[in-house]
């Protein structure tokens, strides 16, 4: 792998998305502030805003770094540089994961800290928060994989819609799962087997989507 070129391409995507990252962090901080206000309505509003920020960041990154590179015809410029199609895909994965993971981690740590430190929010919410944020990470990776494999704006939008619909179903499912739901109002976080299995399934999904993207790239004969 041409590490110097990978580094430059990753830095390019960081540079072009720096404003979006700052906006997401700002909105994330706002959502956490709202989350701690002493009312149930504020708690839900803060949660919805936080989830929307993470989803929005994922959509923005995939669209701006992958879909628009084809749509706005900047891909021929990038591919004229000394890189192979496989290195391009690796650079896109690294750029996307590093930007999303950095922002996601900050929001994740901040969310858990707020829940942990706020007297009005039970620590029993901690596992649920981790699971939901991890699911958003997995949905983002799947969308990125679809965008890179299909090279299609249409399929990427379909995946975004499916991912968001699935999140609603997942939220309902996980908050009604007996071994998780019964501990949500608990004063201590309960990290039981269903929580770990769910996180393991999410981690597997992330790994498979990224590995699948690389395997699909090795089988492609045409790139542009």
């Amino acid at each position: 792998m041409n590490q110097e070129m990978l580094r430059r391409l990753v830095l390019k995507d960081w540079h072009f998305n720096r404003t979006a990252i700052l906006i997401c962090l700002g909105l994330g901080a706002l959502s956490l502030k709202v989350l701690t206000l002493p009312s149930e309505g504020a708690f839900y509003a803060g949660s919805v805003l936080l989830i929307s920020v993470v989803i929005g960041l994922g959509i923005h990154l995939v669209i701006s770094t992958v879909v628009y590179e084809r749509k706005h015809q900047t891909l021929p410029f990038v591919m004229s540089l000394p890189i192979s199609p496989m290195e391009y895909v690796v650079a896109k994965i690294l750029a996307n994961l590093s930007i999303f993971a950095a922002t996601w981690t900050i929001l994740c740590v901040a969310t858990l800290s707020v829940i942990w430190a706020s007297p009005g929010l039970p620590n029993g919410l901690l596992p649920l928060a981790v699971i939901l944020l991890a699911e958003l990470f997995a949905a983002y990776c799947l969308t990125l994989a679809v965008a890179l494999i299909t090279e299609s704006e249409g399929w990427t939008i379909v995946m975004l819609v499916v991912g968001n619909l699935f999140f609603n179903y997942f939220l309902y499912f996980i908050t009604h799962l007996e071994n998780i739901a019964t501990h949500l109002q608990s004063p201590v976080a309960v990290w039981n087997r269903p929580v770990w299995w769910t996180l393991a399934a999410i981690t597997t999904t992330i790994s498979l989507s990224l590995a699948g993207t690389l395997v699909a790239q090795t089988r492609k004969t045409d790139f542009l």
Partner: protein, 298 residues
């Protein structure tokens, strides 16, 4: 002949509605090859294969001594690629692009880049989204030329440019090959551009190379003979006659194997050769495509 910088041997690529068939192509070091074909002839496919972006089903490709696509990264260090559908990042400035490209290529020549900025009348701190089409093409060409690549590959670089911008671009290309070590392959359907600057010509149509040779040979071989014929004259049929159009006692013969003695073949049967005219590259191209399509209808 020096080592070719581009070599295609028996390259084929099949798509559902298009077949690139047994392409053989060679561009000598220091040469400018004009790659002419109608829209959809396969020019861009050949160029994408050359750049390693499309893998051929069959055949061998070598560019600057590297096997393609395997050695594409190494080859692309010395290739400057420009394409009609290549765009720069709209949200940022030409200066950012120059810094970005400069950071990748040690061969970047800043003083030449500054010269091109002035010559092309480009503003380095202007965002790309404010550029006209001509400015975008010139900016992309600046980024390519200032790297001093050994091989320039340009896919329809003059499409959509006004005559002044086209002339500026062609002048710059001519200057590039003053250095004997640099070569250019550029595709176009504008035969005037190709005729102006190329020293090698390749015609492509429907995925097949129809003809490839140096420009002078092309232009020397093709002639149009205007004849006046006595009644009942039977014309000879020497090799290379592409078309014969008769109207009353007047006749026009087009040949692609003209020799100094060709007119005497017609005089010998009683015809009067009233004119021997050279053909423009466009006329040669059209005649070549028509002849090929008559022989091999789609």
């Amino acid at each position: 002949m020096t080592d070719p910088v581009v070599q295609f041997h028996g390259v084929s690529k099949r798509y559902s509605h298009f077949l690139l068939q047994d392409v053989d192509l060679e561009l000598p070091r220091g040469g400018i090859m004009g790659f002419i074909g109608p829209n959809g002839a396969g020019k861009s496919t050949v160029i994408r294969i050359l750049m390693g972006l499309v893998r051929p089903d069959r055949g061998e490709v070598r560019v600057l001594g590297q096997d393609i696509p395997k050695g594409q990264v190494q080859a692309k260090r010395d290739i400057g690629f420009g394409s009609e559908d290549l765009r720069l990042y709209r949200q940022t400035t030409l200066d950012w692009h120059m810094e970005f490209v400069r950071s990748i290529y040690p061969s970047w020549d800043q003083s030449y880049a500054d010269t091109l900025l002035r010559r092309f009348d480009l503003k380095r701190d202007q965002k790309v989204k404010g550029f006209s089409h001509g400015q975008r093409v010139k900016a992309a060409l600046l980024l390519v030329l200032a790297r001093r690549p050994k091989l320039l590959v340009l896919d329809e670089p003059t499409t959509g440019l006004d005559p002044v911008a086209r002339a500026e671009l062609l002048d710059e290309l001519m200057e590039v090959v003053v250095d004997d070590d640099r070569s250019i392959l550029f595709s176009s359907h504008n035969t005037l551009d190709v005729e102006q600057i190329s020293d090698y010509i390749t015609f492509i149509d429907r995925g097949r190379i129809l003809a490839t040779d140096d420009k002078e040979t092309f232009l020397d071989r093709w002639r149009r003979l205007r004849l006046e014929l006595p009644p009942e004259t039977v014309l000879p049929n020497p090799p290379g006659v592409v078309s014969t159009q008769r109207q009353g006692h007047l006749c026009v013969v087009t040949t692609n194997q003209f020799e100094p003695e060709t007119p005497s073949l017609y005089s010998a049967v009683g015809a009067t050769v009233t004119a021997v005219e050279p053909l423009t590259l466009e006329e040669i191209f059209i005649a070549t495509v028509r002849t090929s399509r008559e022989v091999q209808p789609s």
